[in-house]
């Protein structure tokens, strides 16, 4: 299996600079009359090329934290700085562009579009990034990139299949390929193996690990499984709305 598709778009920083930083992050949800404080004061700094696992029990707010870091969700207080830029100050379109070009998401439930086949799902980020004319001008390159990614993930025989025709592990591989399509600088993985059996989960984790080791990809993964979290460079635990290093 070649690893060219997993090569980073830009060479990794020589010094391990902070790419994503959260300070004093707060988030609460209204629960009828009362408010539930999910994130009370979260501080986090992720360095370029780092693989960080955020561990926590179900309902601890780890997915919420991931969504906030990935500019998918709003927060009540604190700051999130990506590459020196406060994302709370960005407009809706700029946040969309950030999700499209700088971030990649892998979800527990894969979240593939059922009407699109494997190749089309993989190319989705590139299709969103480009105009009709631009896409058709670079169609061959974009397709080649998508095929290469899918080939790296062992999905090159399933290009025309639709998600309903794939197993859980195959769907997650396609989701990873889609997340990597625009060569994001940060990959967010939300319980990537949560819906898979043990062996398939290990295969997916192996893919993420390879991305990190060979591609120097910055990965932030949330999980409730300590054995999976232990494959990361650093493990943080989210408990009672506060993030702290895991006890070894």
């Amino acid at each position: 299996m070649s690893s060219t598709a997993f090569q980073p778009a830009r060479p990794p920083a020589l010094s391990a600079s902070v790419i994503l930083q959260a300070s004093g992050l707060r988030k609460s949800f209204r629960m009828g009359e009362s408010r539930l404080e999910v994130l009370e004061r979260v501080d986090l700094a992720v360095r370029t090329g780092e693989f960080v696992a955020i561990e926590g029990r179900s309902g601890s707010g780890k997915s919420t934290l991931l969504h906030i870091l990935g500019a998918l969700d709003e927060y009540d207080g604190g700051t999130v700085i990506f590459d020196g830029q406060d994302i709370s100050r960005l407009g809706s379109a700029q946040r969309s562009a950030l999700r499209n070009r700088q971030f990649g998401f892998v979800f527990q439930f894969y979240h593939l579009l059922p009407e699109l086949n494997v190749l089309e799902n993989t190319m989705l980020a590139a299709m969103i990034e480009r105009s009709w004319l631009n896409f058709h001008g670079h169609k061959a390159q974009i397709k080649a990139r998508a095929r290469e990614l899918l080939s790296e993930l062992g999905m090159d025989q399933r290009l025309r299949h639709r998600p309903a025709q794939l197993s859980g592990g195959e769907r997650q591989r396609v989701a990873i390929a889609r997340a990597l399509m625009n060569q994001p600088r940060v990959l967010f993985a939300d319980e990537p193996t949560g819906n898979l059996d043990f062996d398939t989960g290990r295969q997916i984790m192996a893919v993420l690990e390879r991305l990190h080791r060979q591609g120097n990809k910055t990965i932030i993964m949330v999980t409730h499984d300590r054995s999976l979290a232990s494959q990361a460079d650093r493990i943080l635990v989210l408990q009672n709305g506060v993030l702290r290093p895991a006890e070894t």
């Binding site: 969309s96 070009r101 980020a125």
Partner: protein, 494 residues
């Protein structure tokens, strides 16, 4: 790029979208068919009625009509818009065709050459010159040289009251008559009045012998002008020489036309000498019921009307006896003459517009419901697309574009369906009548014996545009809902 791609994918894969597509198609086709048929009927009604009576009509309500019409027509030539005018007499009568058919009819006396310049009567005749020449050739081949010559003479004189066949043909019809019946006048009857019809198809048939029918027309002359002082009916004998198909069912079903001078004379409306009390020899001027005026092409009858009214008023001042009682000569535009029917027709048109508006609202609501369902069903997809970087505007554009695509395809299919139905509507109607026993179009009700089968470009453009806009409008609220969706909430949607 992804918007177009997703629109096309959703269109192909989401069967529910086909329901809205079919709804748009059916609504478009239905409105096109209704507007084309009813709008076509309105246009046909106006054109045909206009064609029947020229641009302006000068008439008086008296049965005796008015005099000095020849001088009046001469004076009308001063009006710049004037092109031609023809006097005519309109009265009632009873027709007897060969003792086989009797009916109360409207009797119209035309100077056929003059009237051909004023209205479309000549075009309504069945025996047009090309048909007459073809029939003449047929008779020539059969050796009926005199009949062939009569047919050619009629073709040459078109339009005329001449009989179709040689005089002997007519003499043979009534051998016991003690007069030269071949000298009886020619009469033209409405196509639907007495012509035989094929029992299977209902189509009019015109065997040659139909044009050898004798006709007796009973009319009532003017009482005031009768020499005896008593008014008695008078019978005008004649031959059926042609039939007129104006396409207005009621006109074609109850009108008989004959030469102006024949009717004028039999109604005592011709010029007559008389002596006054001092023994001076004078002439009672000839009279007519109406004068129809044709204006130059492009002229506005309403603009020409005041000048014509002035001429009529001057002449009435000059000849106080121009009208025989309190009814003056009035000038009407063709549409004023038909105002009762035209107003009803205009109301019908308004009803159609309201109907169209209701159909559009129903279509918009239908599309709104379907799109709302699609957006709800696609909530998670919206979250996915947004998580991969789609903007709110992009998501809205997907659903608006989806509505637009459904509108364009649905309206296009509706246009095709509407076109096929409208252009074959008479054949479809005939098939329905024959096989299902369903007759929707009754000529007696709708005045015309064929259903209008043409589409107006303007109507098509308006209907198709409204259909497309309705589809987009139906998608607006669901599209906005999709655009405003929080991506995280959308991803968690179940």
């Amino acid at each position: 790029m992804y918007k177009l791609h997703l629109i096309l994918k959703y269109l192909r894969k989401r069967r529910i979208a086909w329901v809205s597509l079919i709804a748009v198609m059916l609504c478009t086709a239905m409105v096109l068919i209704v507007i084309s048929v009813m709008g076509g009927w309105l246009r046909m009604f106006r054109q045909t009625n206009h064609g029947l009576i020229g641009d302006l009509i000068l008439s008086c309500r008296s049965m005796d009509g008015f005099s000095h019409y020849e001088e009046l027509i001469g004076d009308l030539r001063q009006v710049p818009e004037f092109e031609a005018a023809a006097p005519l007499i309109r009265t009632g009568g009873v027709i007897n065709i060969r003792n086989a058919f009797h009916s109360i009819v409207q009797v119209v006396g035309y100077d056929i050459k003059d009237v051909a310049k004023v209205n479309n009567f000549a075009q309504s005749l069945y025996w047009q010159p090309d048909r007459l020449y073809a029939k003449a050739d047929e008779y020539q081949k059969q050796g009926a040289l005199e009949d062939a010559a009569a047919l050619r003479a009629k073709a040459k004189a078109f339009p005329s009251w001449d009989k179709l066949f040689a005089p002997d043909t007519y003499r043979d019809q009534l051998p016991a008559a003690k007069m030269d019946v071949s000298q009886w006048t020619g009469m033209i009857v409405g196509t639907n009045l007495a012509l035989p019809r094929n029992p299977a198809t209902g189509q009019v048939e015109r065997p040659d012998w139909v044009y050898q029918y004798w006709v007796h027309l009973t009319v009532v002359p003017s009482l005031e002008r009768a020499e005896s002082g008593l008014s008695g009916s008078t019978v005008i004998p004649g031959w059926m020489v042609d039939d007129s198909h104006t396409k207005v069912f009621i006109v074609d079903a109850n009108t008989v036309y004959l030469p102006f001078d024949v009717l004028q004379q039999r109604l005592n409306m011709d010029a007559r000498p008389y002596s006054d009390k001092e023994g001076h020899q004078l002439t009672i001027p000839a009279r007519c019921s109406e004068v129809e005026v044709k204006l130059k092409p492009g002229s506005d009858p309403y603009a020409a009307k005041p000048a014509i009214e002035q001429i009529v008023a001057k002449l009435q001042q000059k000849y106080p006896d121009m009208v025989s009682n309190e009814y003056p000569v009035t000038v009407e535009n063709w549409d004023q003459r038909q105002s009762d029917i035209l107003e009803a027709v205009e109301h019908e048109k308004m009803l159609l517009v309201i109907l169209f508006a209701i159909i559009s609202v129903v279509a918009i609501f239908l599309i709104f419901c379907i799109f709302f369902m699609i957006v709800v069903e696609k909530t998670r997809d919206i979250g996915i697309i947004k998580s991969v970087g789609a903007t709110s505007g992009g998501v809205a554009a997907i659903f608006l574009g989806y509505g637009l695509t459904i509108g364009v395809i649905g309206a296009g299919m509706g246009l095709l369906l509407g076109y096929l139905v409208v252009h074959n509507i008479n054949q479809l109607h005939a098939w329905m009548s024959q096989h299902l026993g369903v007759t929707v179009w009754n000529a007696k009700t709708y005045l015309f014996d064929t259903i209008p089968n043409t589409m107006e470009t303007r109507d098509v453009v308006v209907i198709v545009t409204v259909a497309i806009l309705s589809s987009v409008l139906g998608a607006v609220v669901p599209a906005l809902r999709a655009a405003r969706m929080n991506p995280v909430e959308a991803l968690r949607w179940e």
